[in-house]
Amino acid sequence: MSEKNEKKKSSAEDEDVREFKEVMNTLKETVPEIIKGIVDAIYSGTNAEEFGKQVANFYKSMVDVGMDKEEAYELTKKFMESRDISGIIKKILSEGNLENWKSGDVDSEKISSTIKNKVNDELKRETGETNE
């Protein structure tokens, strides 16, 4: 009887060990693959260049219409927060809810109205100068 019990115990242990080995193998293979996937998707050189061009254009367009550099920097920072994919992921993860992020501190209305005001001011100034 005791021999039977020991056999049962041993086979259950073998089963546990086999399962554990599977888990370890999955960890060994999957985790690096996931990290690699994230790196390739987010931090590729092409992405960096594309994003750099977008940010540079945004910043320059605001400086060109006469906006103060610090103000342009603040707006560009917000623009980056709304476009940077790693920032978006980080924000979603830290808040744990995409909906929270959507209604978060990226105030696109404020950004667009500031730009509009600056452009209008600049146009008024230019037309005033031409009339004179």
């Binding site: 985790v31 931090y43 061009k53 560009t76 993860l93």
Partner: protein
């Protein structure tokens, strides 16, 4: 159960090393991304100082967040 413990002891260092290397590789890529981003800004006509300031605003996902992402 002793067999299980032996497997844990045998496999854990290998897994830790693999994950550490992957993470270091990830960090290096992220830094390279920031460098390319900063250089692109400068090439596109943004002042060097401002480009540096803007590049520092890029958020890099850290290990804890990476692990959360895998859940």
């Amino acid at each position: 159960m002793s067999k299980g413990i032996i497997y844990i002891l045998a496999d854990t260092p290998a897994i830790l090393i693999t994950i550490t290397f992957s993470y270091l590789k990830y960090k290096r890529k992220a830094k390279k991304y920031m460098k390319i981003f900063r250089k692109t800004l400068i090439r596109e006509g943004v002042e060097r100082k401002m480009a540096k300031k803007l590049a520092s605003e890029i958020k890099i996902v850290n290990l804890r967040e990476l692990i959360n992402m895998m859940h």
